[in-house]
Each structure stands twice: as structure tokens, then as C-alpha cells.
Amino acid sequence: MKTIILATAIRILIPIFIIFSVYTLFRGHNHPGGGFIGGLIGAIAFVFHTMTHGPQQTVDTFLKLNFYGYPRQPNQSRSLYLMRMMRVNVWRRRKMARHPEIKHRMIRIESVYIIATGLLLAATSGVVGLLSGQPFMHAYWADFYIPVLGKPGTPILFDLGVYLLVIGVVLKITFVMSEE
């Protein structure tokens, strides 16, 4: 299913999809949208990418984190080392990848991790109520507005959990279907 137009377009479209899905997620409390719909929109972006480029490519592009680093020298101060590592990982990634002394470590984000994170978030949002003596899932709201995202509160956290879980589940299904 490798059509050149779709393959090229999807690369550009993915950020838009993601931004739109997050937007849908957060506006969902007052307008049509929400975690389920947002999650599906976000997932569809990746599904299309998988469809055109294959699952391996999708994983390599979006679901792998590369960390670069070198072992700490014995007499080097800890904070300095941490700052160096940050600089290496944030600003100088391209260069570091080819540097001889630098080793890199890859973390593959399994879609199961995303599912688990989503479930954890959703469940934790309910615990907040429990901790303050209210029933499980009691809602708490902040008193201020954040421009695009709206009013923060535990239900929003819950919706975020739903969002992540839906993305994870759809990704998992897609990868299973297209792999092998």
C-alpha cells in the first residue's frame, strides 16, 4: 500500500493530526470531542503512517527515544555531568549520534506502556478524591483558566487517561495486524 502521495502527505499531516487530536481532547468538556474521539483521531494518524510505511518505520520514527551519553568521569561533579548530558540529549543530538565516545541507548515505547499509562492516569484521577476523604472519583477543579486547554481538573486528567489508552489500544491492534 505504498502510494507516494499518501506516503508523503502523511508525514506532514501527522503533526496536524496530533495537534488536532489534543485540541479535540481538551475542548471536549464544553463542545463535541473528548478523550475517546481525540484518541481515535490521534491513533488514525499513526495507523495511516503504518499503512503506508509499515509498522517498523512507524515505531522507528515515533515510538523510539534515543538517549546519548558517556560514562561519568570519577572526579566530575554530578551536577555538571547532568547538565552535560542534558545538553547532549537536547541540543546536539545530530552531532552526538556520530561521536565516537558517545554511546546511545534506545528506549522503545511499547504501545502496552501507553495503555498502562492511560489506565494509571484515569485511575489516579479518582484517587485524588479518595485521599481527601471524598468518594472515589470525586471531581476537583482549579479556579483558573488556561487559554486553549480550558479549566484544569481531575475529570480532564481522567479524559487524558482515556485518550492515551485509546491511542495505545488502537496502535497495539494495528501493529499486531500488520506485523508478521
Partner: protein, 771 residues
């Protein structure tokens, strides 16, 4: 009390671990637990003996009025002390008896589990918790009987015990619920005051039948007695503890406990007396027909249980007094004799009465214990068993129309008890013998100490009946009678009729012992009778049941998905049609025809998309086409949602439909190609069924929609969504706030589906099928 139960369960499940750490010393902590509970109960005893009932309440399911309620009065205290005191000795004994057994840890687990369950049963202050602990004892008993699970007979016996007591437990549950309904409470302390209310209730008779079924199966009453001798397949500590002293007495405990609630009526009295009487005689008779030590003991136990039930049935003050005294006495001597039998079996390797002789020389302490217990069982003078027997005779001789019947029953069993006591306490140990049975190993302290201790207790109680025992038993009898009761236990009542009868019993018992060989030779003549016995009926019933189940399963579960679904749908249609036909409203379509005029253009267009799409779906022979058609149908449905004010649902439907199509495309080449498989002849059946189902659903919707929906939920969510939930999208607020817990459950389902898919993938990798 709650803590005691909790500690019991915790220790039970820690037992295998403890065994791994401590090895053979595992019996030390295991015996310490019942011992400390025993001490704890003793500290509570003064309060109980002063006439107070102790209670303890923990909320469990408050909305159903079910609490974890503990209740301690004289009756429960008697049983609890018996369970923990005897439990301590058994734990020690098991350490010696099963020393070196690889599964000792597991054995202790079961045993401690049982002990805790039994303790919970007698301490429970709520009839629902009584039932739960009751079932726990059945289950742990099953595990214990089947401990030697490598033998088939052992497994069968365990299953038999479980089935019989389990069926009884089922009946008991129904009975207890009925009792609770009749008394309008499940709390024991309240129920005890509502005896009249229960006995006069319309549900009394069914409740009585069910409760008695439960009690009779547990306490091995005729005709359910057959499981008990088979349960002797268990290791001896289990037989001694469960099947003579505690578990089988759970039924008696239940009857005693419910005497103030359900007792006193004619039905109660006659049933208990008749069943108890038959059991007593039958147990005694069968005891003379066996030569296996444990079998003999099992049958005399059945006989004793029958006596206890009979006494409960008589229900007069002397009878109940006799019952509690005999209960304690029996537990003491029968437990001892079981342990003795276990020792003999362990040391010589046989339990056959005819092969054992002259063991007093080689097993001195065991022999002493056996002698003491035997004398108590025979009802000889300084022993507690003597008091028990005296009271039994006295109680049966009370003024009543059946006094001679009842007396004859107890006299007969007393005679057999004497014979058995002589055979076990004297015959195999002390009778002079030229060739004593050789031992495989010497007597061990851990094995002979518990029986000796128990037997001595029987002697001490007999010599000092006024000390501690009398007040305890008095309170126990009070718990059944419901009124203050004073009785004096004394060893010596003077020369009277009862003493004379006691002497006569002993004499006749000796005669029975003397001619026991001849009695045994008659045993074979009864063989034909056994064919009609309950044990055989049970076997036949079980076989028939299994056969029937196999047939039905083979018929229902034929392996064809179609027939399952067809059966489900047919049943569904039948039920709906039946209920609509009986009292369903009539459909009035004609009045509603004008509504057709309100149709909008785009609605018609959508309709015209779906129906032809379905037709194409059936015509299509290409997988890709059918997927595309599915997409069309899905999108059309999504448009419906938009038209009727559900943008969120519509968006979800659109996205899901897209995803479905994409996923199908991804996987298409791995799925089987279209082929026609069904036979034309069979197809019409399914077409008809499908049409009927569709028609039924249509009809249901039409009927439902004739009536206006008065949705308070809609109004509530409409009003409070913004004010309480701070959101304007009501659907979303319901999802993430009002009903967030439901949504949490739903996303868990999603996660599980994903994990299931993952699992299937992993499975494939391991097996390495052809790909």
C-alpha cells in the same frame, strides 16, 4: 474474636512457608495458634459463665443487613474450647504422625484452615456467616480426606463427602434464608428471641426441612451416614479431629443453636427423635460388623451423633443437659481412641482388629490412654463418660409416650459402646497373648502424649465435675433452653434405677464382646441388604447423573457455532413473543401513519443508501467490496447520529468506521478468501430465523416508542451538567465525571482486549505453527 479468626487464616496460608523454613518443627507454631486462642477464650470464659453473651460486630455488607458478627455464649464457648483445645493436641499429633511427609506443609494448611472455619462457625453471630463458615468446613474437609490423593479410593471418598455435605449445605443456605425471612433478621442474638415468630410463620415447615437436611448430612445422620466411614481414608489426625470431635458435630451445634428459634414444635421433635434413633441403632449395629479399627470407631461415632440428635429432639431440660455432657464426654474419649488407633496403625502397619494383640508391652503409654478412654466410653465409674451415660438414661426415662423406645435405643447403643470399648481398650492391648503383634517402630512421645492427655482430661472431669465443667455446660444448655438452668453434675447419685441399668449395660456389653466373633460371622448375610442401602443409591445416582450430564452436554454442546447462536436467538424470540402475547400492549400503527409526512429529504436518502448497500453486501463475492460496503453502512449510521443531535457519537462512529476499514485492508491478504460453504437446503432455516429476529426487534421498538419516555435522568443531567460538572458537553461530563467509574470499567475492558490480542500473538510464537 475477629482477630483470632483472621490469625487462623493467615497462619493457615503461611503453613507451607513455615514448613519450608522450620522443617519438622513446623508443628510448634501450628500448635501454638490454637493454644493461644484457647487461652484467649479462657480469659473470656468468666464473663460468659457469669451469664453475659459477648458480641462483636464488623460491617460487611451493611446494605444487605449482613454483618461479620461474632457471638459468644455458653454453647459457642463449649464448642470453641473443644475446637481449639483438641486442635492444639491434633496439631502436635500430626507433627509426629506425618513426620517426613513431603506435603506436611500443605496438610497443616488444610488443617489450620479447617480449624479456623470451624471456630468461625461456632463463633458466628449471623446466620449468613454461619453458612459461609459451614461451607468452608466442608471444603477443607474435602481437601483433608483427599490428602492421599494418589489413591483412587481416597479421591472418591473425598468427593462423596463433599457432595453429600455440599448438597446439605445448599439446602441449609435456603433454610437459613427462610429462617431469616421468617424472623426478619439474620442476626443470631435477635433471632434467639423470636422463636414464636419463626415457628408460627408460613415458611417454618420448608425452612425446617432444609435446615434439617443440612444438619443431617453434616452430622452423618441416617440416611446420609454412609460418607463418614468412607471419610476414614483421611490420615488419622483428621479422622480424630474432623470426623469424631468437631466437624460432624457442626450439625449438632446447628440444631442446638437453633433449638430456641425453631425447636419445640412437634415436627422438630419427632423428626429429630426418629432420625436420631434410627441412626443410633444403625450405627451401633454396623459397628459390630467391622474389624477395621477406624471403621468401628466411625460407626460408633455415627451412633453417638444419633444419640445427640435424639437428645436435642427430646428437648426437655434433662435431655439437653445430657446432650451437652455426653457431647463433651464423647469428644474426649472418641478423640483419644482415634488417636490410639492411629498410633497402632502407625506402629504395626495394620488396623485389623483380628491381627492385633498383646500390644501393652510394646506400646505402654498408648495402651494406658486406650484403657482410660475405653473405660470412659464404657461408662465406668470415675470417668466423665459415666456421668454422660447416667444422664442419658435419666433423660430417656423421663415421662413421655416414647420413653421405652428411647431408652431401648440408648441402651442398645450403650451396650455396643461397652463391647467396642472392651475390644479397643482391653482386647488388643492388655489381653494376654502368646505372640504380640510385632512393631515396626517404637512408640513416639509426640504420638502418645496427646491421647494420654486427652484421656486424663476425661478422668479429671469425671473426678471433679463441679470444677469449671459444670458452669460451662450449664451455660451451654441454657443457650439451647433459653431459660436459666441449674444442674449439678456429680459422679455418685446413689443406688438407683439408673445405676442398675448402667451395670446391666456393662454386663450385656461384655457378653456382646464375648460373642463378637460370632456376630462378625453373620456380617456376610447382610451383604444383599447393602444393595439397597443409601451408599449404593448414592453410587447409582452419581453414575446416572454423570451419564445424563454427558448426554446433555453432547447434545447441547455439539461444536457448531451456528446451532449455539440459533438456540440462543430462538429462545430469545420465544421469550419476547410469549411475554408480549400474554400481557403486552397492542401495536397501533395506523394512527401514526401521518408521521411519515414529516420525513426529510436527506433522511430518505440515507435510508436509500443503507438498504441497497445491504443487498450488495450479500451479492458481493469480493472481500474488498464487502469491506467497502460495510464502510458505507457505518458512515450512513453515523450521519443518522448527527441528524438526531449526537455529534459525539457520530464522530466516534465515523472514526471507528475508518479504522475498521483500514485495519481490514491491512490484514486482508492474510484472511481466507470467499467461498460458499453452506448447503442450500439448510439455508432457508436460517433465513427464516433471521427474518423472525429482525421482525421481533422492529416490533419491540415500535411498541416501546408508543409510550412517552419520562426520563428524569435527562432532566437531571441537563440541569446539573454545567453547575455541578463544570462542562457544557453533557455527554462528556457524564463520561468523565458523573459516571466516570463506568468509563473506567469500560477502558479496562479495552485494555483487556488489547492484552488478549497480545497474548494470542505470544501463544503463536511459542508453539511455532505453520505460518
Amino acid at each position: 474474636m475477629f482477630l483470632a479468626i483472621l490469625a487462623g487464616f493467615l497462619l493457615a496460608f503461611a503453613a507451607p512457608l513455615l514448613y519450608r523454613w522450620l522443617g519438622k518443627w513446623v508443628y510448634v507454631p501450628m500448635a501454638l495458634l490454637p493454644f493461644s486462642i484457647f487461652i484467649y477464650l479462657l480469659t473470656l470464659a468468666p464473663a460468659v459463665l457469669a451469664g453475659n453473651n459477648l458480641g462483636e460486630l464488623h460491617a460487611w455488607a451493611p446494605s444487605l443487613n449482613i454483618n461479620l458478627h461474632f457471638f459468644l455464649d455458653g454453647l459457642s464457648l463449649l464448642f470453641a474450647l473443644l475446637i481449639t483445645g483438641f486442635g492444639t493436641l491434633i496439631m502436635l499429633y500430626a507433627g509426629g504422625y506425618l513426620k517426613g511427609h513431603p506435603l506436611l506443609g500443605r496438610f497443616y494448611l488444610y488443617l489450620a484452615l479447617f480449624m479456623t472455619a470451624m471456630l468461625g462457625l461456632v463463633l458466628a453471630g449471623n446466620i449468613i456467616s454461619i453458612f459461609i463458615f459451614w461451607e468452608l468446613t466442608s471444603i477443607s474437609s474435602y481437601l483433608l480426606i483427599g490428602f492421599g490423593h494418589d489413591k483412587e479410593s481416597s479421591r472418591n471418598s473425598a468427593l462423596q463427602a463433599l457432595l453429600v455435605t455440599g448438597l446439605g449445605g445448599l439446602a441449609l443456605m435456603g433454610g437459613l434464608i427462610l429462617v431469616g425471612m421468617a424472623g426478619e433478621t439474620y442476626t443470631l442474638s435477635e433471632l434467639l428471641d423470636r422463636g414464636d415468630m419463626v415457628t408460627n410463620h408460613a415458611l417454618y415447615l420448608p425452612a425446617l426441612v432444609l435446615v434439617l437436611l443440612g444438619a443431617f448430612t453434616k452430622s452423618a445422620q441416617f440416611p446420609f451416614h454412609f460418607w463418614l466411614p468412607n471419610a476414614m481414608a483421611a490420615p488419622t489426625p483428621v479422622s480424630a479431629y474432623l470426623h469424631s470431635a468437631t466437624m460432624v458435630k457442626a450439625g449438632v451445634y446447628l440444631l442446638a443453636r437453633l433449638t430456641p428459634v425453631m425447636g419445640g414444635t412437634n415436627e422438630w421433635q419427632y423428626t429429630l427423635m426418629v432420625v436420631g434413633g434410627i441412626t443410633t441403632v444403625l450405627g451401633a449395629l454396623l459397628a459390630t460388623q467391622h474389624t477395621d479399627l477406624k471403621a468401628i470407631l466411625a460407626y460408633t461415632t455415627i451412633s453417638a451423633l444419633g444419640l445427640l440428635v435424639t437428645m436435642t429432639g427430646i428437648g426437655t431440660a434433662p435431655a439437653l443437659e445430657a446432650m451437652v455432657v455426653f457431647l463433651l464426654a464423647h469428644a474426649l474419649y472418641k478423640g483419644t481412641l482415634f488417636l490410639v488407633a492411629g498410633n497402632v496403625d502407625h506402629a504395626t502397619g495394620t488396623r485389623e482388629l483380628t491381627q492385633l494383640e498383646g500390644l501393652s508391652g510394646s506400646m505402654r503409654y498408648t495402651a494406658i490412654a486406650a484403657l482410660l478412654a475405653g473405660m470412659s466410653m464404657a461408662g465406668l465409674l470415675p470417668f466423665f463418660g459415666f456421668i454422660g451415660k447416667e444422664l442419658l438414661y435419666e433423660a430417656t426415662l423421663q415421662e413421655s409416650p416414647f420413653r421405652w423406645m428411647l431408652f431401648a435405643v440408648s441402651f442398645f447403643s450403650g451396650m455396643v459402646f461397652v463391647a467396642v470399648a472392651i475390644a479397643l481398650g482391653y482386647g488388643i492391648f492388655w489381653r494376654r497373648s502368646a505372640s504380640p503383634t510385632p512393631l515396626q517402630h517404637a512408640d513416639k512421645a509426640l504420638l502418645y502424649l496427646p491421647p494420654v492427655l486427652l484421656a486424663c482430661t476425661g478422668l479429671v472431669f469425671g473426678l471433679l465435675p463441679g470444677f469449671f465443667v459444670t458452669p460451662l455446660l450449664q451455660r451451654a444448655a441454657e443457650g439451647m433452653l433459653g431459660v436459666e438452668q441449674v444442674f449439678e453434675l456429680a459422679l455418685w447419685h446413689g443406688f438407683n434405677l439408673v445405676l442398675g441399668l448402667s451395670l446391666l449395660t456393662v454386663l450385656l456389653g461384655y457378653v456382646v464382646y464375648h460373642f463378637s466373633n460370632r456376630l462378625l460371622s453373620y456380617a456376610n448375610r447382610f451383604n444383599r441388604l447393602y444393595l439397597f442401602g443409601p451408599a449404593n443409591l448414592y453410587q447409582m445416582g452419581l453414575k446416572g447423573f454423570l451419564k445424563g450430564a454427558t448426554k446433555i452436554t453432547a447434545f447441547i454442546q455439539n461444536g457448531y457455532l451456528r446451532s449455539y447462536i440459533a438456540a440462543i436467538i430462538t429462545a430469545h424470540i420465544a421469550l419476547v413473543v410469549l411475554s408480549l402475547w400474554r400481557n403486552g400492549p397492542r401495536l397501533e400503527l395506523v394512527n401514526r401513519l401521518p408521521e411519515l409526512g414529516q420525513l426529510r429529504m436527506y433522511e430518505v436518502v440515507l435510508l436509500l443508501m443503507i438498504v441497497p448497500a445491504l443487498i450488495f453486501l450479500f451479492k458481493s463475492r469480493s472481500r474488498l467490496t464487502s469491506i467497502a460496503i460495510m464502510g458505507i453502512i457505518g458512515y450512513s449510521v453515523a450521519l443518522f447520529y448527527i441528524l438526531f443531535g449526537a455529534p459525539d457519537v457520530a464522530a466516534t462512529q465515523l472514526l471507528i468506521e475508518t479504522l475498521t476499514v483500514v485495519i481490514f485492508v491491512l490484514i486482508l491478504h492474510k484472511l481466507p478468501a470467499f467461498t460458499y460453504l453452506s448447503h442450500a437446503s439448510e439455508r432457508y432455516k436460517y433465513v427464516l430465523l433471521s427474518l423472525a429476529f429482525g421482525a421481533m426487534m422492529t416490533y419491540v421498538i415500535l411498541i416501546v416508542k408508543q409510550y412517552p419516555l419520562d426520563s428524569q435522568l435527562k432532566a437531571y443531567y441537563g440541569e446539573s451538567s454545567y453547575l455541578l460538572g463544570q462542562g457544557r458537553n453533557i455527554v462528556n461530563v457524564i463520561l468523565v465525571d458523573f459516571r466516570a467509574l463506568d468509563t473506567l470499567g469500560e477502558i479496562v475492558v479495552l485494555a483487556v482486549a488489547a492484552i488478549g490480542i497480545l497474548a494470542m500473538l505470544k501463544l503463536r510464537m511459542q508453539k511455532g505453527d505453520k505460518s
